[in-house]
């Protein structure tokens, strides 16, 4: 009997786990299924460039089916319940899923159109969701603030910038943790450049706020970024944990007791774990899955792994972390299916993350770190910007497949 490996979420992490396992395990060893809510794989880092029309040549999405190994089955639907006692999922199928029609086989649908999908191994790559309801003032006035944390949000921000004629633009963090810690810094650097090109920089004050006592969590990176912000005339307020947004008065206030007025507000919206994680009682107070920092097993549950944004790990919520974690999970499941011990090197996550930080004007720097080693970012240069731009395009050919 092949082992049933079910992966929830066709993001970067889930897709890599599926593709690597499909190559490593024979069909008589494992049956691999990916369940994805939309069937579309998004390249989220591309959203940062959209408001500035810098996204030409960057593909923002592809069909998940086109990225999956032919041996992997795809179910397009919403997982409504994860039952780790009986090792099965309840799924409301919403799309065609596998064009080869494999997905329905052996998976009964009940009167409500729900599939029951049993598993022997489960991988949760359920990601993060935006939760504006977590910050007073945001949810009630969704059209009165901006963000670039979804495709729609980034497009709406582009429209808002198109008609912007000057004033004060405030960037604030609505809650922590949030996806891609460097993104807010990158945003203000790219905004500064864009305003300059539009001839609006003199008429605009950019105000960057950050929850900690420096402009970025990592001191070595803050030391590179802070002088750049100053050079570009970008104002900063640190120790600013947004507590409420008043879209009528156009003022945001912080947990630390400060108020900031704005003309255009760009928020990093509060994030939470996926609804199904909260509904299934698998998450902490914010829906993040308690995960072992090295084995990536979900704590106190057997044969369940978690990766990427979905975990409660103290690493950045980024495609890069998910990418490295996926390799670890694939290695562990491969060993377990074969009744072997996990590989002591490839079967443990060391906290590895590698990402870029765009600093505007065609420059970028690079952050490489793990649990033991803090990043030592090189001086921003054209080289790293080009590398990032190359990655933005090469992603589709090398990353989801698990080739790198």
């Amino acid at each position: 009997m092949p082992q049933r490996i079910v992966i929830v979420g066709g993001g970067v992490g889930g897709t890599i786990v599926a593709n690597v396992l499909a190559r490593k395990l024979h069909a008589d060893e494992a049956e691999i299924t990916v369940i994805d809510a939309t069937g579309e794989h998004q390249y989220m880092p591309g959203w940062l460039y959209l408001p500035f029309n810098h996204s030409a040549g960057i593909e923002l999405s592809r069909s998940e089916r086109s990225l999956l190994n032919a041996h992997v089955k795809l179910v397009v639907g919403h997982v409504s319940q994860i039952n780790t006692q009986d090792r099965e999922l309840r799924v409301l199928q919403t799309g065609g899923g596998d064009s080869k029609g494999k997905t329905g086989k052996g998976k009964p649908t009940d009167a409500a159109g729900m599939l029951t999908i049993p598993y022997d191994y489960l991988v949760l790559g359920t990601g993060a969701r935006l939760a504006p309801e977590d910050l007073p003032g945001l949810h009630e006035a969704e059209d009165k603030w901006q963000h670039f944390y979804s495709l729609d949000g980034a497009l709406r921000l582009r429209s808002a910038l198109d008609t912007f004629e000057g004033g004060r633009i405030v960037l604030a963090i609505g809650g922590i943790p949030y996806r891609c810690p460097p993104a807010p810094l990158e945003f203000v650097f790219l905004l500064d450049e864009w305003l300059e090109h539009r001839g609006l920089r003199q008429k605009t004050e950019i105000h960057y706020t950050f929850p900690l006592n420096r402009v970025f969590p990592i001191e070595s990176v803050a030391e590179v970024a802070a002088p750049l912000l100053e050079q570009r005339g970008i104002k900063t307020t640190v120790f600013f944990n947004t507590e409420a947004v008043d879209t009528e008065r156009q003022v945001i206030s912080s947990l630390e007791g400060e108020e900031l007025p704005y003309d255009l507000l760009v928020m990093v919206p509060p994030h939470r774990g996926a609804q199904v994680i909260e509904n299934s009682g698998l998450g902490d107070g914010q829906g993040w899955i308690p995960t072992h920092r090295e084995t990536l097993e979900v704590k106190n549950v057997e044969r369940v792994y978690a990766l990427g944004d979905a975990t409660d790990l103290p690493v950045s919520k980024s495609g890069s972390a998910a990418h490295f974690e996926a390799k670890v999970i694939a290695s562990r499941i491969e060993a377990e299916v074969r009744g072997e011990e996990p590989d002591p090197k490839h079967g443990l996550y060391t906290g590895e993350v590698m990402c870029f930080l765009e600093t505007g004007h065609n420059h970028a720097t690079q952050l490489v770190f793990d649990y033991e080693h803090p990043p030592r970012p090189p001086r921003p240069s054209l080289y790293y910007h080009m590398e990032k731009q190359l990655f933005n395009r090469a992603y589709w050919y090398i990353v989801p497949q698990g080739h790198v």
């Binding site: 809650g175 990176v221 914010q286 920092r293 103290p314 770190f369 649990y371 803090p374």
Partner: protein
């Protein structure tokens, strides 16, 4: 190392090895989900936390109950005051 003397808390976060987002961000995140009067411990291996964590707690008006030195890391214990 006298773990038995450590203050018992409502929630403990192991942020050792966290450079990004980092121990302070884990502490702020933990504080937000805690009820007023609740206690939280954060383990940090980052020497910078010795400065950052007390500074933020003071700024945000929360109480630092203890700074417990351990081999290779520090355990910060705080109470949510407001």
């Amino acid at each position: 190392m006298a773990d038995t003397l450590d203050i018992v808390v409502d929630k403990e976060i192991d942020a050792r090895g966290s450079f990004c987002p980092g121990p302070l961000m884990e502490l702020i995140r933990g504080m937000k989900t805690l009820p007023i009067g609740g206690t939280l411990a954060v383990l940090s291996g980052d020497p910078g936390s010795l400065k950052d964590i007390p500074a933020w707690l003071a700024k945000a008006g929360h109480e630092l109950l203890a700074t417990e030195p351990h081999e290779g890391y520090t355990r910060f214990v705080a109470r949510k005051a407001r």
